[in-house]
Subunit: 416 residues, 2 copies
């Protein structure tokens, strides 16, 4: 069977299974999520053995240690995955929520209610915990899911999905609501992107290259996630004692994540006072500064090029520039931001107001670290990714963002 035929077959099965799932009660879904968590713990040896195969293969291929660390599962990480499923069980069911409703002048009852999409395709890289997270979030939001993880994690993903499917079936729902996309080649990804009508939405999670290729080639509607070239702008009216720890936190708290800061802009009026402090603090934390001329006058600062302004480093690097005023900061961000998260540090209400109004990003922060743009931090309880597009969902996506809506209209023989 061709990759396309194989993918269409699982998508068709997902479509059929999604109908029953869409009608499942919250009680059924929550019981299933707990059963999935129980099964992951009960069959941990099986999953860890499969994961050991992936790790051994990666080591033989000379994969860098930090990538292998992302790939590796432990009893502790499995416990985290199980807890994640239980956490999703504890969240409100978005399906059936009445978004708006009322009675029209002619007596028709009108309600807009949340309904599942149907079938969701997830394309993601490396970390096998995403397999359980995505399965849990999709199941709770009433969607069948087709999972296409990294081929480097194929044994782990196959084992996790086998365990989850058994738990789903034992709980009385159809196992086909959770499926792996068959095939390791790019052909299977391509087939998934072309399964319009069978797959309702595709969510790519990973590097810029993966996301760009999905956006360009998919005929299935896509929700873009995650590329974060995030800025911190230290205004002339900044409280520098707040600005310093904030910049450090945004850059160094965790470097491999999309909400880490990648660029620092400093107003010229505070440069003389702030630059020595921030350069010293960043360098002490191990950060390489890619700076403009002003930053370049400090030791060990690398000269920045336009490439630096546009780069999501995901490492202990930061691009840094002094700007003459707020307008220049806004212009820099308009030119280079990926539209994920940008922050201003200021005590000036007018500057904050302008920054919030004019920066066109999923999240705009005042006097807070970029690291707060996160479903967990926002209190959503679970997150499938962070959308950087404007259609449907923007910013961290929780359970409600994994649904569509339907208008229900009740009359008594009404005609126009």
């Amino acid at each position: 069977m061709s990759a396309e035929a194989a993918v269409r077959e699982v998508a068709q099965r997902a479509r059929v299974a999604s109908r029953g799932l869409a009608l499942a009660t919250r009680a059924q879904k929550d019981a299933t999520l707990h059963a999935m968590a129980d099964a992951l713990l009960a069959r941990s040896e099986e999953v860890l053995a499969a994961n050991a195969e992936d790790v051994a293969r990666a080591e033989a291929d000379g994969t860098p240690p930090n990538i292998i660390d992302r790939l590796r599962l432990t009893d502790e990480r499995l416990a985290g995955m199980a807890q994640g499923l239980r956490d999703v069980a504890g969240l409100a069911d978005p399906v059936g929520e009445v978004v708006r409703g009322g009675v029209l002048a002619n007596g028709l009852e009108l309600r807009q209610v949340r309904v599942p999409f149907g079938v969701v395709g997830m394309i993601y890289e490396a970390r096998p915990n995403v397999t359980a997270d995505a399965a849990g979030i999709c199941l709770k939001s009433g969607n069948a899911v087709l999972l296409r993880g990294s081929s480097s994690a194929r044994s782990s993903n196959a084992a996790i999905v086998a365990v989850l499917r058994d738990a789903v079936a034992a709980s009385g729902l159809e196992a086909d609501v959770v499926q792996l996309v068959p095939g390791d080649s790019h052909d299977s990804v391509k087939a998934l992107m072309r399964a319009r009508g069978l797959v309702d939405v595709l969510i790519p999670r990973g590097g810029a290259g993966l996301i760009q290729s999905v956006v360009n080639d998919s005929t299935v509607p896509v929700i873009e996630t995650g590329v974060g070239n995030c800025h911190v702008y230290v205004d002339r009216a900044a409280d520098l004692d707040k600005a310093l720890p904030l910049v450090l936190n945004a850059k160094t708290h965790r470097t491999s994540v999309c909400n880490a800061a990648e660029s620092l802009l400093v107003h010229a009026d505070v440069a003389e006072e702030f630059l020595p402090r921030v350069v010293a603090a960043l360098q002490e934390a191990g950060v390489t500064i890619h700076g403009d001329d002003a930053f370049g006058s400090y030791d060990d600062v690398v000269v920045a090029t336009d490439d630096d302004w546009g780069t999501e480093y995901l490492s202990l690097d930061i691009a840094a520039r002094v700007v003459p005023d707020l307008d220049a900061a806004l212009e820099h961000i308009r030119t280079w931001s990926s539209g994920h998260t940008d922050a201003i540090v200021t005590e000036d209400q007018g500057a904050a107001r302008r920054f919030v109004a004019e920066v066109d990003s999923a999240a705009v922060l005042v006097n807070a670290s970029t690291r707060f743009t996160d479903g967990g931090e926002f209190g959503f309880g679970a997150e499938i990714g962070i959308s950087t597009q404007k259609l449907h969902a923007r910013g961290p996506m929780g359970l409600p963002e994994m649904t569509s809506t339907k208008y229900v209209v009740i009359g008594d023989g009404h005609v126009r």
Copy 2:
């Protein structure tokens, strides 16, 4: 200049102009909308003269009278367009609306607020009134708009846009928030579909062919609108005295619209009583019935093929079938519906509940004509189209559906 370069240039100008529009107050936008309405009336001779050119060209080309009627403008229709702009001025401004908000446990203030998309591309056929409607809705929702109407209406559209742009500029906003897409060829449509990054969303309005081609070829995110293969299902528990006028209204009230009924399903238990009544009433109203065997036993009923079940006639034709039970009705709708609007006629609460839950369409109606799926009827005040997709917006789209959102987070030096 190539079509692509020309389109990118207007899109770039729209992008720049959209920034000022995004910051405009409701008062500024409403004053501009009234100025646009005033200008259309004040310069009606100019617009009608341009329209007369389009009509003369269409007549010379042998265009059918019903298409020419859609193309033709009159003083009355211009007055309707002006009133439409004033109606939009009277609607609440969606921009800045707080969708949700609160204070997190750590004291961060979190708000999700509505913001404009930025630049909206409209691709539409025939009726020149759409030009003013779309310009008004986009302006009120803070979006710059690129209008690509039918080439048969090119003189009318050019005149309307010239009038509207003058009014926009005289009101103090940038004229480039309303622009025509240059060029008449398909190349300009193609360039619009490829202007990802410059254009935020494309909304095609027109026939299935147009919409399909935009969905397949566009790299700009698309909101699909309008194809309506709508069903009315008359259940065994239907009140036939309600069902008869409802079927007639859904089919004959206006045939050229997407919410007109195109298929009739009748439960076998009521077929003997209902078929003679509904066949007679539909035929008396001039409707051609494309029926299955049961309907085929009546005079003048044409034999239906699978093509009929899948056709959006947009004319005085209806496909008709007797089904053995509710399950068969649901299966027929699942197979053939375009996901726009489907209605059940029943007094049985259980049947209504199943139909509402299981029919996967933008609008599901109980004991009401399909003709009610409409932004005006739903009380939205203005409608840019009816989305038949599941991402972002589903069903009639009013002003809020023409916006994205942004998270605004206010702290006081918060770090993680």
